[in-house]
Each structure stands twice: as C-alpha cells, then as structure tokens.
C-alpha cells in the first residue's frame, strides 16, 4: 500500500543498492554453498562453486559457519585492505544466510576520528615529556643560581635573562604574602603591570584567575612540597583587547616560595588547534550518525511499503485461484505465489538485519499547501482496501458528519493515507469473518479525531504500553515488521497531533488519532 510514486521508490531503491551494495550467500548446514547473488564482486568475491565449502572459497568466513545459536553481526570487517563490509549471518530452515553490506564510508570516518585522537594522545605525551625536561632543567638552574647568588650576582643575571627569554615571570612570595619579581621581567609583563618601579606585585589583582590558584599554591608553599603545582591554562585580555594565554606554577626552591607565570604562545596554539580539530570532527561525526539514522528510517519505510504492496499482490493471486484457470495458468499462478512468499521472506530478513536502535527523527517543516482533507484521505484508503475486506468477509464503514465542511488537518496527504492504511489493515488482520471495521471522524473547535474500531478480541493489556514502539511485534503477530504503528506515532507527533489505543466498549480494539485542524493552526500562528 505505497503512496510513494513509482519513480521515487525506484530512485530510493537504487540509492540503497548503490550505497550498501548488498550481496548474499546461502550455505547448507555443512557450510557448503547453495546459492549466491547480489554485488559479490564489490567484496572481491568471484568464481564461487556451488556444493563446495564456503570457507574454502571465501577466506574471511573461515570458522564462522555453520552458524550455531544466535544470529551474528560483524560490523566494519576490512577485507584485504580494500573493502569494508558489515557481515550479517543468520540461520533459517533452508540454511545459513550471509548478507554483505558495504560499510566503507563509516569505516573511513571512524578511522579519521581515531587518527586524530591518537595524534592528540601522542602530542600530549611528547608535550608532557618536553615540559618535564624543561622544568627539571629550570629547577636545576634555579637551584644552582640561588646557590651562586650568595657570592655571584652574575649568575642571577644570566638566569633571570634566560627565564625572561622563555617568557616566564618569576615572583617570590614573602612571609607577608606579598610578591616581588626575581630577575628580569619578560616583555609581556609591562602590558599588564605598567608601573615597574613598584617593589611589590599583587598578580592576583590583575589576573583574577590567580586569586583562585594562589589558594592551592599556599598549601604547596606551606607544606614545602617538592612537586610543583600547575594552574592549567587561562586567557587574559589586555587594555587593547588582545588575548594572552598563560599557565602558572607554584614551586618551592629551598626555603623560597616561587610563583612562575609562563606566557604560552605556540604551545597554546598547537593545543587549541588540535582540540578544535578533534571537536569539529566529533561534531561532524555526530551529524553523520544522525544522517545515517535518517537513512535507516527511510529504508525501513520503503521496505514497509514494499511489504504492503506484496500483501495486495498476494490477495490478487488468491482471488485468481477462484477463477477458471487453464492448467498452464494454474502452474504460473503457483510460481507467482512462491515468488511472493520468497519476496516476503527476503523483506523480513532485511528488516531483521537492520533492526538497529533508531532514536532520532528530525523534524521537517510542514507546508500548509499540502494539508490533507481527512475525509478524502480516509475515503481513498477505504476504497482501495474494500476488495481485500470483501474477500475476508469483513465489512468496512466510514462515519462522519456530512453537514461539517472543515476537514482540513495539519498533515501531509500521502503520509496520512499511509497511517489510515496501517490502522485499517491492522483492524482487518484481527477481525473475525462477518464482523465490521468502522472508521469514525469527529471534529471539535481545534482538532479532528479519527477512530478505527474492529470487533476482534482487542489488544492484550500487557502489550498496550509497547504498541507504538519501534519494531514492536505482539505475540502471535500474523507477520509485519513492527514498524507500522511506530511510523504512525512519529509522523503524527511531528504534525503536533497524538495517537493512542483504547479498548472498544464492545470488546474489540479501537485506535484513535487526533490532528490539529488547519484553520485552528493558522489562527494560532496569526495570534
């Protein structure tokens, strides 16, 4: 029961086949090839021989067959550095099926992200090593110089210049909690402390960040810890709105308490650039996942539509059996019926293979020009389904108030018809012969409520809460993919409506949906 035009369906199918390049293999329980097909060459698989063990012909299946127990999914399997495939293995009465689906784009995306993360880890490691060496060298120099200080003013001067060249400001904390500069001040110092004649400096007054850090630094100085404490990076803005990045360290050298403030230039830019790139890649990856999820939804919907059409073909074939066919005609009819069963099985298997968890479904803007007339939509679906109902000896009725004229709702026509088809087909599936399915439409000021009611046994209370969840299949389900009601829910919710289930007072099932009227929605938008 598709409402997608044939050209769109054909385009979507081509898209999926081009993207996933599906290929399949069927083996018997001894692992010997029975059948194969699809885009096998895309995975480097050629020259297969029926009856020969598959593992001898396709090396990457070695040890995987025969399949014991549960189905198996091997995502992103890289084959000879050329192809990357998701390998789905599932067992059926006729043998073990192997489904190959192209996953090259996902693999290269993941590989690129992994590469960035690994590069970052390596760089971090190298930076840490360099910093450790630098600090070890500096501390040794400071200690040596301080020893020299007592008798050698030249030593202090050289060290001071060295630190200034490295853009490091050294401040010594005195017992009265004031700071004095040691050695030569680096060039950046005057941008933030323009009065060089001052003896004492209060760096935390200019650098608010240090107010916080000095609390932790005090502990290091009081405890005379030998290990330096680093502040982490922070950014300061000077009077000209230029940004400068610093990192501070608190250290003890002998009995002296030092605060080192280092201007980070290239080191900061490198780190910032790496993190920026990694995060941008992560955002791209998140978007990629979202897109992939949307495509999966599309795939499910297409398969769901194919399944609906197949049901219709099946009904037609069943009706043909009542005709006075020639023996040749009967033979061809039997071939047709077998193909329908095969096609149905294939659709179910693909759905099983793809039943990944899909959480998001992005909203699309609703175009009021495509707003559906709910009476017309219901009527069209009913007309299309009437032959099937007649064949099953079930009546199908439509009730609505003929005096009402305003039946336009916030809904797109083709999707609304698909929703009605889902609900009415479900009702038929659970209806006993000689019963009636009733579609009822009621309107109030702002909404239109549609109900589809059958005279079957109703939905068992234990499964009512799960009815509209994706891939949900009730017990003894006569054979759908568990997507129909999920599709109905997400579509109706996107239009600002709601859908639900109520047991019918007469004992059957009653599904209802509520959609905003277009007139009310326009009025709300104008208000």
């Amino acid at each position: 029961m598709s409402n997608l035009p044939a050209s769109v369906l054909e385009y979507c199918q081509t898209l999926i086949f081009e993207q996933y390049s599906p290929a399949y293999l069927l083996t018997d329980k001894d692992g010997r090839l029975i059948d194969a097909g699809g885009s096998l060459a895309a995975y480097g698989v050629t020259n297969l021989q029926q009856g020969k063990p598959i593992a001898e012909q396709i090396f990457f299946l070695e040890g995987l067959l025969p399949l014991e127990g549960a189905n198996l999914l091997l995502p992103c399997v890289k084959i000879e550095d050329e192809f990357c495939a998701d390998i789905h293995l599932f067992s059926k009465a006729e043998g073990d099926w192997i489904l190959l689906l192209n996953s090259n784009p996902e693999e290269s995306q993941q590989q690129s992200i992994q590469q960035f993360v690994n590069n970052l880890s390596l760089l971090r490691h190298r930076q840490f090593k360099h910093l450790t060496q630098l600090f070890e060298y500096l501390f040794a120099e400071i200690e040596r110089s301080l020893n020299l200080l007592k008798g050698n003013a030249m030593g202090e001067s050289i060290l001071g210049e060295l630190l200034a060249t490295l853009n490091i400001l050294v401040l010594e904390r005195s017992n009265d909690s004031l700071f004095t500069t040691v050695g030569v001040e680096p060039n950046w110092f005057q941008h933030f402390f323009p009065n060089p004649q001052e003896v004492h400096v209060q760096p935390q007054e200019r650098f608010l960040f240090l107010e916080n850090f000095i609390v932790d630094a005090e502990q290091i100085w009081q405890n005379k810890d030998s290990k330096p404490l680093k502040s982490g990076l922070w950014t300061e803005t000077d009077a000209s709105e230029n940004e400068w990045q610093f990192e501070a360290s608190a250290v003890n050298v002998g009995d002296r308490h030092l605060l080192l403030i280092e201007l980070l230039e290239v080191a900061y830019q490198e780190k910032q650039s790496l993190i920026q790139t990694a995060r941008e890649n992560k955002l791209i990856y998140e978007n990629f996942v979202k897109e992939a999820q949307k495509k999966e939804i599309l795939l499910h919907c297409i398969l769901h539509d194919l399944s609906g059409q197949l049901t219709a073909i099946n009904c037609c074939l069943a009706l043909l059996t009542n005709e006075n066919l020639t023996p040749k005609g009967k033979e061809r009819l039997a071939i047709g019926e077998r193909q329908v069963i095969k096609q149905g099985n294939l659709i179910r298997e693909i759905l099983d293979a793809f039943s990944a968890d899909i959480e998001t479904f992005q909203a699309e803007a609703f175009d009021p020009d495509t707003a559906a007339d709910i009476v017309q939509s219901a009527r069209e679906v009913i007309d299309a389904l009437l032959p099937t109902f007649m064949m099953n000896r079930v009546k199908l009725k439509l009730n609505f108030d003929l005096t009402q004229m305003d039946w336009q709702v916030v809904a797109e026509k083709s999707r609304l018809e698909r929703i009605f088809a889902n609900l009415i087909e479900n009702a038929l599936r659970y209806s006993p012969a000689d019963s009636t399915v009733t579609v009822d439409l009621k309107t109030d000021e702002n909404y239109i409520v549609a109900t589809v009611e059958d005279q079957g046994s109703g939905v068992p209370p234990a499964i009512v809460d799960n009815l509209f969840k994706k891939f949900f299949q009730g017990k003894n389900n006569p054979g759908k993919a568990g997507l129909g009601l999920y599709f109905c829910r997400i579509t109706i919710e996107r239009w600002g409506g709601s859908i639900g289930y109520l047991p019918s007072p007469q004992g059957g099932a009653q599904f209802w949906l509520r959609l905003p009227k277009l007139s009310a929605s326009r009025w709300a938008a104008l208000s």
């Binding site: 970052l120 608010l208 960040f209 107010e211 916080n212 850090f213 609390v215 932790d216 982490g232 990076l233 922070w234 950014t235 300061e236 803005t237 940004e243 990045q245 990192e247 900061y268 780190k271 910032q272 993190i275 920026q276 990694a278 995060r279 941008e280 992560k282 955002l283 998140e286 998001t360 992005q362 909203a363 803007a365």
Partner: protein, 165 residues
C-alpha cells in the same frame, strides 16, 4: 559594591563562550572556536538600583579531551549549566556536571540554560526530562546567543538568586 563569581559549565560546543560574549560585549560569531582552559570576564549589572559586579569564569567544555578542573569553581556564588538543545548528549553531560559541582561547592544557585533556541526545529531534548528537572526545583531558561533571546534574562535571574542568597 557586591561582587559575585559565576562559572559557565557544560559540554563542549554548547555556546558558553558565545553566551558570555553576547552578554558582556553584545557580539556573536557563528564560527565555532573551542575554549582551552579558562577565560574570565567582568560585567557590571544594575539590579534593583544596586550595582553588582559579575566575574564570569568561562570554563572549557567537558569531554574526553578536557576534563573541567573542579578547583576552578572555588568561590563561585552561582553557575550556569549550558546545554545545546540540538544535542541530547549535552543535557546528560549537564546533569552529571551538576552533581559534581554541587559536591564541590555545595548548593549554590544555578540555572540550566537550553541554548541554541534559534535552531529549535532541530532540538532533540525530551520535554519529559526537562519537566522532571523543573519539578526538582531547577530554573530552566531557553536562550540563543545568536539572537540574544533569553541571555540577559538568564544572567539577571542568576544574579537575583545570588544576591538573595
């Protein structure tokens, strides 16, 4: 004059820096520039004829590449938990960060800011989850650093809460 320290916390790329830039300098840039470390800004606000100096600590975003140092939060009188409405995972990060922050600095006022309101069509947040935190007594404000919607309101509401103590 009253002086209050406010910290901006949240997952990366939620718009913390953009919210501060919009509030302090009335500017916005569409280009994503990741924050490394901390940036501190000041803004003077007038609340009921009383001047309050806000010290805004814009902390880098939390993820596997950078963890927020909890020592940055010391002395904070309030904080914003910033969420990107278009990424559900940032809401979960905010919930985890709130628990960590409260453990470190106690129950100081905070506001959950649902940012990127200009992209509301792409929002992934579940109304039920938001309703649940509101029920717990959280203040939730929707904002857009791009259009400025809700930004002033968020900062003034938090200031009010901090001043009231």
């Amino acid at each position: 004059m009253i002086q209050k320290k406010i910290c901006m916390v949240g997952a990366f790329a939620t718009g913390k820096t953009s919210l501060v830039a919009r509030f302090v300098r009335s500017i916005y840039s569409d280009v994503y520039q990741t924050t490394v470390g901390v940036k501190i800004d000041k803004k003077l606000v007038n609340l009921n004829n009383q001047e309050v100096s806000l010290i805004l600590w814009d902390l880098h975003g939390e993820d596997e590449l950078q963890k927020v140092r909890m020592s940055y939060l010391r002395g904070a009188s309030g904080y914003f938990l910033v969420v990107d409405g278009t990424r559900r995972s940032t809401f979960e990060t905010a919930l985890a960060l709130q628990a960590k922050v409260e453990e470190i600095i106690g129950a100081v006022p905070f506001i959950l800011v649902l940012n990127k309101l200009d992209l509301q069509a792409d929002w992934e947040l579940e109304e039920g989850a938001i309703a649940q935190v509101i029920q717990q007594g959280w203040t939730v404000i929707e904002s857009s650093a791009k259009t400025g919607l809700g930004v002033e309101e968020a900062f003034l509401t938090l200031t009010q809460k901090m001043v009231e103590g």
